[in-house]
């Protein structure tokens, strides 16, 4: 990955690889820039691939690299899927202690696509596109969940769609700043503070649930599905912001209005959720018993699309449909079948919808100041590439149960008890009478020692990290 040595006074050498185009977004973590990778063999008219570069500010004084950046690097460095954004490089500017993540650039996102239909076209998104987008979103999510990663912040602006090119119309799930590996968390997941934008937040979280699961992502997918159909957020609650972790009564009320009240009969663990217990007067006070979801999304109650949607919006997280199950749903097996390029016109001969490109603020440079210097001429520098040593994966695993699929219970409870024991150590132990032969059976090694270049960080799949748009 990037070499952080400073090239000039404040200009790190890696900057030379890019031709900066401008700023395309900003958020609490920092700024996002659009740049092009300079071609390794410059020629007139030749342009490198577009790259979105997310610059992280140092968080608070004395906190070092922000945990958001760490989470994003940690996860994206391990995963690789067509429907997940691709981290192509990480750079550091030691001079101002800033960190840059370079992603393949995606021209569109669901937020902008939905907005374009609602505000400019005043027409719904064609059924083929809706189905293809949903399928790909579930496909990416299934990959994440099967790798024990919960995204925790799915919303239309975090779901990118590739613009024209090899990957046109392909979805990329982005923004892993809140994502977690949930295999054996050291701390309860809720310790990170509240997560998920409230409109897409699952009812178990709104009710104060602490041990939540990948089902929270599926609730968000349900909300996004409905929004793709109607072009309006399904549950537009007003966020309460008075305390650090306030009770979002209005958001719950919006959900109950559409789906009816949850009941302990249908959702047994409901009774254990803090807010359900504490706030009976408010949440259980008004009763809505006319579930009207099908009227809102304009789907016949017996249609496969409606069936799938209502399974995603199932109150009980344990009964909610999983990404893997959703991919097998009848909805995806009937015409129109989902496709790789979600943005293709639904009928041959029909025109492709010209979605707008992202606005670029070309007056801002990497420092975030508005004094854009003309970029340096290319100096024949090679594109970055992974240099780490990789070893081929063993074809056969000796024993399946020891690697994947660990029960979630084991570690947490037992670990604490062993912390003390650990100190005893084993030093001084006399290994005298161990019936073992040194190097028994020869020094055969478990792994092949051949090496090959790491292919983990190729430059082929464009993608782009999403942020709140502030223009």
């Amino acid at each position: 990955m990037g070499d952080g040595r400073a090239g000039g006074a404040n200009r790190p050498a890696w900057l030379q690889q890019y031709e900066l185009i401008g700023k395309i977004g900003e958020g609490t973590y920092g700024l996002v820039f659009l740049a092009r990778l300079k071609p390794s063999h410059p020629a007139p008219g030749r342009r490198g691939p577009p790259i979105a570069i997310k610059k992280f500010k140092q968080s608070k004084e004395g906190d070092g690299v922000s945990p958001t950046a760490i989470r994003e690097i940690m996860l994206l460095r391990e995963i690789n899927h067509e429907n997940v954004v691709k981290l192509v490089n990480v750079h550091i500017n030691h001079a101002d202690m800033s960190l840059y993540l370079a992603f393949d650039y995606a021209e569109h996102d669901l937020y902008e696509i939905i907005r374009h239909h609602r505000e400019k076209l005043s027409s719904s998104i064609n059924p083929y596109t809706v189905k293809s987008l949903l399928w790909q979103l579930l496909n990416g999510l299934n990959y994440l969940h099967s790798n024990w990663i919960i995204h925790r912040d799915l919303k239309p602006s975090n779901i990118l769609v590739m613009g024209e090119g090899d990957e046109h119309g392909i979805i990329k799930i982005a923004d892993f700043g809140l994502a977690r590996i949930y295999q054996a968390p050291l701390k309860p997941l809720c310790d990170n503070g509240v997560v998920v934008t409230i409109w897409y937040r699952a009812p178990e979280l709104l009710l104060g649930g602490k041990h939540y699961t990948s089902a929270v992502d599926m609730w968000a997918v349900g909300c996004i599905f409905a929004e793709l159909l109607t072009l309006k957020p399904l549950f537009q609650g007003v966020e309460a912001k008075n305390t650090p972790n306030p009770f979002q009564l209005d958001q719950l009320d919006k959900i109950f209005k559409v789906l009816g009240h949850p009941t302990v009969e249908k959702w047994p663990t409901l009774a254990n959720l803090p807010w359900w217990q504490n706030d009976q007067q408010h949440i259980q006070g008004h009763k809505y018993d006319n579930p009207g979801l099908h009227n809102i999304v304009h789907l016949p109650p017996k249609s496969p699309a409606f069936d799938l949607l209502s399974k995603m919006l199932e109150y009980d997280p344990r009964k909610r449909i999983t990404a893997a199950q959703a991919l097998e749903h009848e909805y995806f097996r009937m015409e129109p079948l989902p496709g790789r390029n979600a943005l293709l016109p639904s009928q041959p001969g029909e025109k492709i919808v010209p979605y707008p490109v992202r606005p670029v603020d070309t007056t801002t440079d990497f420092e975030g100041t508005t004094s854009l210097q003309p970029t340096q001429p290319p100096s024949g520098n090679a594109p970055p590439g992974g240099q780490s040593v990789a070893r081929p994966m063993p074809r056969q695993m000796p024993q399946q149960p020891m690697v994947g699929g660990m029960p979630r219970v084991a570690a947490g409870a037992n670990m604490a008890a062993f912390n003390a024991a650990s100190q005893a150590g084993m030093a001084g132990l006399n290994p005298g009478n161990i019936p073992m032969q040194r190097g028994a059976g020869g020094q055969s090694h478990p792994h092949q020692l051949r090496r090959k270049a790491d292919q983990g960080m190729g430059m082929q799949n464009p993608g782009y990290p999403q942020q709140k748009r502030r223009f």
Partner: protein, 257 residues
């Protein structure tokens, strides 16, 4: 992958033992022998361990920190990356990765408390934050580490010898005084610890091991390495490497800039 060791960056980065023992050129020039190189790594693993005890983080955070520390020196020299600064910074980074962040100022405070008299171990917050970035680079931004602890518990359960848990767990802890985590898949290290524990505690696990169909040669080789380590170093688990033995070695490293 986050959950599958075989597709993880950890698995892809496993090294040959010879490469792990290789003393970086800059350190060789300062007269550091392979044995001394190993000794510093043991010493600094203790340092991380003791510091972690002060700031109270869990075992897995310590294990991740020590793994980072050992990985760094397969790529960088101790002359360029002062182990006395790299060690606490590894703990700092590992605490973030394992979602139990420890503040840098807290580390600085406890380092002062632990090594008050020795100036060479003392660093400021700024030093740790700068090193954090260099560390990310040196680790090539691969941060997910797998450990033997979880497979250990599962395997002990499977073998029906959970009464050996504490003993085997202690053995696993001690493997971080060695470079095993850079060389072998974590579950193989867990198996080796179970093997040693069961032999020492007279549990017959032969049939169970046979059923696993793992390469017992590797399990036995790792076990021998662990027992060799105990035999060679005879380290006091509370004190680590004696001061007189380590200080002359540490003095070969350049003084703080």
């Amino acid at each position: 992958m986050a959950a599958n060791f075989w597709t993880s960056s950890h698995c892809k980065q496993l090294l040959d033992p010879d490469d792990v023992d290789l003393v970086p050129a800059a350190d060789r020039e300062r007269g550091i022998t392979p044995e001394e190189f190993r000794l510093i790594k043991i010493h600094m693993s203790f340092h991380i361990w003791r510091l972690a005890q002060q700031v109270k983080v869990r075992q897995r955070v310590i294990a991740t920190a020590v793994t980072y520390f050992r990985r760094v020196y397969t790529r960088k020299s101790m002359s360029d990356y002062d182990p006395r600064l790299v060690a606490p910074t590894c703990l700092y980074l590992a605490s973030k990765v394992e979602e139990s962040t420890v503040q840098a100022r807290l580390l600085v405070f406890y380092i002062k408390k632990m090594c008050g008299s020795d100036d060479k171990y003392r660093f400021e917050i700024k030093d740790i934050l700068e090193m954090e970035m260099k560390l990310l680079e040196a680790l090539d931004y691969y941060l997910v580490v797998f450990h033997p602890y979880r497979p250990l518990l599962q395997l002990l359960q499977d073998a029906g010898i959970t009464d050996l848990t504490q003993f085997a767990w202690g053995l696993v802890n001690d493997t971080y005084k060695m470079d095993l985590i850079l060389i072998y898949p974590p579950y193989m290290i867990a198996l080796a610890c179970i093997y040693i524990a069961s032999v020492l505690k007279d549990k017959d696990t032969t049939a169970w091991f046979e059923e696993l169909r793992v390469d017992m040669n590797i399990v036995k080789n790792i076990s021998m390495e662990i027992l060799d380590f105990y035999d060679t170093y005879k380290i006091d688990p509370q004190r680590g490497i004696p001061e007189d033995k380590i200080s002359s070695v540490m003095n070969k490293l350049p003084a703080k800039a």
